[in-house]
């Protein structure tokens, strides 16, 4: 046996052992990841009520959703509204918190922990808690605002019970978890070389100039990251509306993911629900690709180009 063939054999053996060790992960990826994804693509072209066998109907589910389903557009509109307001607002609040907590004062660790703490609370528990806080009749928020209501002689705000305010109510509630992005901002903020600030100070720059001309530009990678993650997450908004408002009042918080869930669980229309999932994937994909174009405005520290 020549030397090269025995090396080949050894390589094959090594490869085999490598694949053998990786096989649990590969099996999991194929069975629990790729297979359900491909299966849902197939189901999206069928009429499937989860009892009878799926019946292939081509693009009919997609046609119906786009051309003859009012709730599809209403739920998509609600979701886009949520994304447009919640994502920028989340960034502004997260950044503001990071600025506030990037100071060297006593007990800063405690403050940072306190602001991060809501992120370890489950969304369900958080929703129930805020349901109490927002309760128009005896909720804490309206109790605090009572003097203002009396002063302005206005009716108490009914928050999640008002179709015009319900989406904003949920968005405001979502800001409670802005501490999650704050941690990322804070980490990057502390990574900015002090020498840059020192040089700016020598040039006579104040806090505002340092913040806008040094801190913010150098924060763009984390802002960009949170923006993309926020976009993807916001398009899937569901739990808060499910727990707090059941999609109401008047379907004002009936988001896309909620409608998808109802298509599957209430209407038993698994084919239609799968089609909705794929449409959502494409919407998020296109918006993310467009958002990635903003990458050219992101300044990476140490990047010479």
């Amino acid at each position: 046996m020549s030397k090269s063939s025995s090396i080949k054999k050894l390589k094959k053996q090594e490869n085999f052992i490598g694949y053998l060790f990786a096989s649990p992960w590969i099996t999991g990826l194929i069975l629990l990841g790729i297979f359900p994804i491909l299966m849902s693509l197939f189901i999206s072209f069928t009429n499937y009520n989860m009892i009878s066998d799926p019946k292939f109907i081509g693009f009919e589910n997609y046609r119906i959703l786009f051309t003859n389903d009012n709730l599809f557009w209403q739920s998509l509109g609600n979701t886009v509204y949520h994304v447009i307001i919640a994502v920028p607002l989340g960034i502004v609040v997260g950044l503001s918190l990071a600025f506030l907590l990037n100071n060297k004062i006593k007990g800063m660790g405690i403050y940072r922990t306190l602001f991060y703490l809501p992120n370890v609370v489950s969304v369900v528990a958080m929703s129930l808690l805020w349901l109490w806080l927002y309760q128009p009749n005896f909720g804490l928020i309206n109790q605090l605002l009572k003097p203002l209501y009396d002063l302005l002689k206005m009716e108490p705000i009914t928050w999640y019970l008002d179709p015009k305010l319900s989406k904003l109510t949920l968005i405001l509630m979502g800001l409670w978890t802005a501490g999650g992005s704050m941690v990322i901002y804070l980490a990057q903020m502390q990574d900015i070389p002090v020498s840059l600030y020192e040089a700016a100070e020598m040039d006579g720059a104040g806090w505002f100039k340092k913040a806008t001309l040094i801190t913010l530009p150098l924060m763009t990678p984390s802002i960009f990251f949170n923006f993309i993650m926020g976009l993807i997450g916001s398009f899937q908004v569901f739990t808060m509306a499910y727990i707090m408002t059941s999609g109401g009042p008047s379907r004002s918080t009936y988001y896309y993911a909620y409608y998808l869930f109802d298509k599957m669980m209430a209407d038993k229309a698994m084919g239609m629900a799968s089609a909705m999932a794929w449409i959502l994937l494409f919407i998020v994909l296109i918006i993310t690709i467009l958002a990635l174009r903003l990458n050219k405005y992101v300044f990476y520290l140490g990047d010479e180009t």
Partner: protein
């Protein structure tokens, strides 16, 4: 350490062996899914009933699996879909025809024909049997029953100078009595006489009493007649002397507190299911109350209430399992027998489908007796394939919009109807 390990290992081996001996391999195993999981109150009595069956014979061995009520529906749906359903299990009565038409259920009529004494059919309510029927054959049996009644608080009646003789039986009486029971302090409702949208009162329930429904016989949506509009106005305007905010705040406070407004003595009269009676009993409530049939329209009113129930079904997984089928049938007969239905009522507090067993169960309980009377007047909601949740998600947003004034009653009904029509067209397009 070594000794401890050996003892542990021996113990595990012994337990494994003893567990194996409880599951005889020489018998045909029948899978039964129920809603009494380990840890629930009903688990032990359910297990005892299964054990009693297993001890009574040497051919079949029933293996019971309990899921919580909330988990059960997803599990059974997935199991039916993947053709791994249990041999026998519970489901909902109103959509039996949907499963029967898909060929996943065994024909119970055929089994009864071959074994006529197996089931006391005359002991089951005809209105329930109708829902378990598909193409003139039974594909399930009613297992439990539910009903809706008017609960009234006698202490509140007394405080308002009313007696049990004043319990309303018509819509106009209901309004007159309800107004006497309202208590308002500083603009805040402290006690409400009645509200037709509270508790388990539904728009379709009120429609039924007037001989109307959401759909016609061909399952086309109606909702567009003047009578439909009038009844929704009647619900909306029942407490029109209060602002919608007052009513919503009162109702929402009840929901937030997580307690039933009747059980917490905030509402004097309310339409609720038989389940509320169990809640009041378990809470050892000390107020006096009674139940009556739900008041009906003054003219041509129909005594009817929305009642449903669990079905018991035998699943055909398409594997030609004749032994399993026969075993499931034997167990089904056992579950539907007088004694077992009585035991299940005692264990779960449910109203069971067997009339004789329930008469015995309620013999010392006048409130339960009245509720059993109403089971005979119960009617289940029709199953609409293109809108299975027509009374729930599909309707609720329009209902709340009409009640809150966000939409006029006419507009809400028109929009709801258009939504059903669109769903019907889309369903037909994908068939």
């Amino acid at each position: 350490m070594k000794k401890i390990m050996i003892i542990m290992l021996a113990l595990i081996t012994m337990l494994t062996i003893s567990a194996c001996t409880n599951d005889p391999t020489d018998r045909i195993t029948i899978d039964f899914w129920h809603m009494a999981p380990i840890g629930s109150e009903a688990f032990t009595p359910t297990k005892q009933l299964i054990n009693a069956f297993n001890e009574s014979q040497d051919t079949y061995f029933v293996k019971g699996t309990g899921f919580s009520f909330w988990d059960y529906w997803d599990k059974i749906a997935v199991a039916i879909s993947s053709r791994t359903a249990p041999d026998i299990g519970l489901s909902t009565l109103d959509d039996v025809p949907a499963r029967a038409s898909s060929g996943v259920l065994y024909n119970i009529s055929e089994l009864i024909a071959a074994d006529p004494d197996g089931i006391e059919i005359d002991q089951l309510y005809q209105n329930q049997l109708d829902f378990a029927t598909y193409q003139n054959n039974l594909y399930a049996l009613p297992f439990t029953a539910t009903t809706r009644v008017l609960y009234y608080n006698l202490d509140m009646f007394q405080a308002a100078g009313l007696t049990e003789a004043d319990v309303p039986h018509t819509w106009s009486e209901l309004k007159t009595v309800a107004k006497k029971l309202d208590v308002v302090s500083n603009g805040v409702i402290q006690q409400l006489g009645f509200d037709p949208s509270y508790g388990n009162a539904t728009y379709h329930g009120w429609l039924w009493q007037a001989g109307l429904d959401f759909f016609d016989a061909e399952l086309n949506p109606t909702l567009n007649t003047q009578k439909h509009i009038d009844i929704l106005y009647w619900i909306k305007d029942f407490n029109s002397e209060f602002t919608r905010n007052q009513l919503v705040a009162f109702g929402d406070a009840n929901t937030m507190l997580g307690i039933n407004p009747f059980a917490s003595e905030r509402v004097a009269m309310m339409v609720e299911t038989d389940g509320l009676y169990e809640i009041i009993k378990n809470a050892n409530a000390d107020f006096n109350f009674g139940v009556s049939y739900i008041p009906i329209p003054d003219e041509d009113g129909i005594r009817v209430n929305w009642g449903s129930g669990f079905s018991i079904e035998m699943y055909d997984n398409g594997k030609n399992e004749t032994d399993q089928k026969q075993g499931a049938w034997e167990f089904l007969k056992y579950l539907m027998s007088y004694n077992i239905q009585l035991s299940l009522a005692e264990a779960n507090g449910w109203i069971m489908a067997h009339k004789g067993a329930m008469t015995k169960f309620a013999e010392d309980d006048p409130i339960l007796q009245r509720m059993l009377e109403e089971v005979a007047y119960a009617k289940d909601k029709v199953y609409v394939p293109y809108a299975p949740s027509w009374h729930g998600n599909d309707w609720q947003s329009y209902y709340t919009a009409a009640l809150s004034g966000a939409k006029t009653v006419e507009m809400a009904l028109q929009d709801a109807r258009n939504n059903y029509l669109q769903k019907r067209d889309n369903y037909n397009a994908t068939r």
